[in-house]
Amino acid sequence: MSATRAAESLLALSQQEELEDLPKDYPLSASEDEGDSDGERKHQKLLEAISSLDGRNRRKLAERSEASLKVSEFNVSSEGSGEKLVLSDLLEPVKTSSSLATVKKQLNRVKSKKTVELPLNKEEVERIHREVAFNKTSQALSKWDPVVLKNRQAEQLVFPLKKEQSAFAPIEHVLSGWKARTPLEQEIFNLLHKNKQPVTDPLLTPVEKASLKAMSLEEAKMRRAELQRARALQSYYEARARREKKIKSKKYHKVLKKGKAKKALKEFEKLQKVNPSAALEELEKIEKARMMERMSLKHQNSGKWAKSKAIMAKYDLEARQALQEQLARNKELTQKLQAASKSEEEEGGAEEEDELLVPEAVNEVQMNADGPNPWMLRNHPSDAKEAEIQKDPEQLSEPVAHEASESEGEESPLAEEEILLKELEERRSLRKKSGLNQDSEPVGRQETKDSSSQEVLSELRALSQKLNKENHQSRKQKVSSARTVLPVQREEPAEEEEPLLLQKRERAQTLEELEELGEEGCFQDKELPRPALDGQQLERNPNNQPGAPKEKTKKEQMIDLQNLLTTKSPSVKSLAIPTTIEELEDEEEKDQRQMIKEAFAGDDVIRDFLKEKREAVEASKPKDVDLTLPGWGEWGGVGLKPSAKKRHRFLIKVPEGPSRKDKNLPNVIINEKRNIHAAAHQVRVLPYPFTHHQQFERTIQTPIGSTWNTQRAFQKLTRPKVVTKPGHIIKPIKAEDVGYRSSSRSDLSVVQRNPKRLSIRHKKQLKKNSVD
């Protein structure tokens, strides 16, 4: 059954194959006798298939039936076997015989053996040799690169390189060659030998050596023990630290932290008593921590953890507590610690001290009591406060009054005036004392008179100043919160403490100024011609609108010249006044008139100067070149001018140079002309490795001379690059000199063997380069 099925399938297969083979095997010319040969082939194939069924792969030999295309004198085909015909196949007999195997082997051997190539021509061989040699030598030479680099970068080279060891011939050598000749010497040697004193090695006697060895052992033991102990301790501590670190209990850590904090506080208090300076340092540290806290967002409830907790906080009491704790910590850290000074303690009671110690931020929170986050408040303080003020002024005035009562115990402005009066009296008493002192001093009568009158004036001035300040304060109170009031009031005691200092400053003021000050303000420095101060003033009183357009007009010239010279500088009234002035002083009006006259006498000085400057600027500007030729390319003649277009075309505009140094300095003319004589002494060629003049300037900007340097620095700066010792031969560098083994010399010998070839190669390369 199975056999028949296989046969069927084979039949189908053969048919298929035949269909495929058809166009290949039979050229078109042989298509006539297709019919009969077809049947034959089919039959044969069938036979083959059947014969292969028994499993053995039989050698199938094509049966030659006809002298057709298959066999011809031109073509040897191996039809049927499906293999290519190989030469060895032809030699093979039908049956394998041993006699032909040897021939076959020989044939194979012949086939595998290659022919010996033609030797390269001489040039090529040499080139290869050279290349190899070059690689070798360059490798050998590259070992020297670091040495060369080092020597190039060295600040100083001392030749000869090999320092001759100052030969200390060991004493043994000296002694061995030396023999005792004279009787005295012999005697001494005898003595030495008897006492076992060292003759050759003079350092130690054998006894000494022995003792030394013994000592060393003991020491070594002790040392070892010590080391062992240290190691054990270390490991113990390490283990402990590791253990403690692993403790996960939050409570434990919390307790630990608290304990630490308490301890620190106690220590701090102790320090404060014992060593105030150290305590101050501690305080500074705390302050620093506070600053860090203020800077960072560590406890601001803005972290990842805090956010997650905030979500939970609504439901979870613990989370809420944790958040609160964080905030509390923040507050604690940002709290401003104040070292309560003694003067303050004296002035205020215990209450006040407490109040002072309470930080501002806490106060604020208490007042508002809305949000726990102080940051929220700080972000828009002015807005919030203003809104509050508008809402209920009463609420605001309350804390102000509260604080006022704290510091002075009075509320109304009337009371404040009273305080001022008190101050005045105090000062008067003080002044009386000082006046007495002055009287005792024989300084000069006019001086004392002057000073006393001055002081009365200064008193008045101070009063007016105070009043002004009060006014300012009241205005400020309307605008700003209670916070700003606090520092202002704190200032006052400081002023009271040093009335003398104030007086000193005020002595310099004249009467006119005093009057002015009553109206304007109280700042001495203001009148200095400084733009920065002007700006500040503008900021200070923003109501002063007309100041703004003025500023705009000034923009072009940084500093107004007129202002610069006409600004009234504060006048000095020294203790000693020139005698000529003294006489004049009574007639003050006259003096003033003269002053005014003098101030405006040289009004045209400024105009002249500005004109001069303009001229200088014009003169220094490079001129445009006009190349227009009238009448060229258009009508010419008398009265005709070249067209604007043409003029524009032939005008060569000079590029705008760098701006003048005195562009923004109206009171200065700086000459921009080049100093040719000085330029002759300047460097005008950049030395080799530098590509930009700034780099070179950087290297020569430090002065070298002994005038500007210490002696040693001068010597170092002017050290010669190469130092040679006179009378010494400078030999070429050797491998041993720089710590290489001498083997590298053998590599070098390659170079010496065929230097000629190398040079040829170099020449060739050069040629090649030049061609390229």
Partner: protein
Amino acid sequence: METAPKPGRGVPPKKDKLQAKKKLPHSKSKTRSRVEVAEAQEEEISVKAARSELLLAEEPGFLEGEDGEDTAKIRQADIVEAVDIASAAKHFDLNLRQFGPYRLNYSRTGRHLAFGGRRGHVAALDWVTKKLMCEINVMEAVRDIRFLHSEALLAVAQNRWLHIYDNQGIELHCIRRCDRVTRLEFLPFHFLLATASETGFLTYLDVSVGKIVAALNARAGRLDVMTQNPSNAVIHLGHSNGTVSLWSPAVKEPLAKILCHRGGVRAVAVDSTGTHMATSGLDHQLKIFDLRGTFQPLSARTLPQGAGHLAFSQRGLLAAGMSDVVNIWAGPGKASPPSLEQPYLTHRLSGPVNSLQFCPFEDVLGVGHNGGITSMLVPGAAEPNFDGLESNPYRSRKQRQEWEVKALLEKVPAELICLDPRALAEVDVISLEQEKKERIERLVRNRPLSAQALLTPTSSPHHVPRSAAQQGYDPEAKAPFQPKPKQKGRSSTASLVKRKRKVMDEEHREKVRQSLEQQPQRQEKKAMPLGSRPSALDRFVR
């Protein structure tokens, strides 16, 4: 043994760190290493200099009032009583009422004093020992007097000409080319004697060779206010139109002109570091200017009667003579300008002041006036440590001679005087550029024609403008980008052009970015109101 840098000569101000840290253009590693070495050296040297300050053993003296006590109230008699005998001996008065107002001058070592009266009295003395060197009457009006490089030579500006005497009072020279001299200044490192004359000429005389180096016409009328800037040897002249002009012998015009006062300038003084200049004018004002480039007034003060004479001490104290009173102001530190609010010392003299000078290396102010000479004690005025090799008050004759030879060998040429001496250590950029340009032009002439032809079309317009390319060949210029040939059909002409354009665009973008970066700065500058302090709330301003 190390010696400290000499305090006498001003140490050239190092470029401030900010400037030094300014980024250098990109450089090769070799150059960078050189720069690094130089920087390391500078650092090391400055450390050494700082350490050697330990060796300056002396400390400046000072006067300190008890709390609230004004130091200006302390009189000379009080100071003399308080100090030791040696210092007390430095306060003295010479009553010389006969020969009118005196001019005086201390030698550079501070050991010798020369003075000349209006009516011809000239004298020189070792003022410490009070040993008179010479005393003569020149029988002519004496306008000014000045020591030359050493105390052995003395220049006297007389009515007609300039005369030079030696320390025996023997007239050595009469220089007729300097006539009607009103003021004298000696530049010690250049060996130049600068004279200002009534005729309006500023003349520089080289005293080492006896030649006139330069005679400059100031074109501002009579010159009678002159001083020198000790740090850069520039001469400052005060004029009647309220300006102060700065002069160097190498330039025919003033290096700078500063309008200081509305009235004429009466006195000018420059401090030893060359950073501050004090001027006083007919408008009774005393101003202190910053000389470091801006020439703007730092502080100003109105004096009851303007100061006629000004002088700076070595440590920056400012003395002003106002008719018969001398006021001295001190600053908070050495480098800071004196604060004019409160005088440090005051002193009244017997006659109007005619000359002021602080004695070098001694806390003494010499005042020449109608009634003679007064030597005042001013604690803290002078540099306490002198450099023995440079100006030694105790030197012997032999040492002086040796120093003279050395100083002559180190003489600085007159043409090196300029406003900023540090500029001499800079490369002459203008001639450098010029030479580079010339080289570029020269190179194209020497190049073969084929190279020229090759060069012109390939040079891209982005790097070298066409005209420049035609003019010359710059070997240092960045070569135009040439795309590398690629394989697999990527090296087609189109893609080459594309790649080229890409690079060009990138460069262009970079340029635009840079220009944009500069623009907002300019805008900001415009927007900022001048001089106002930036506020944290500025960011909310719209």
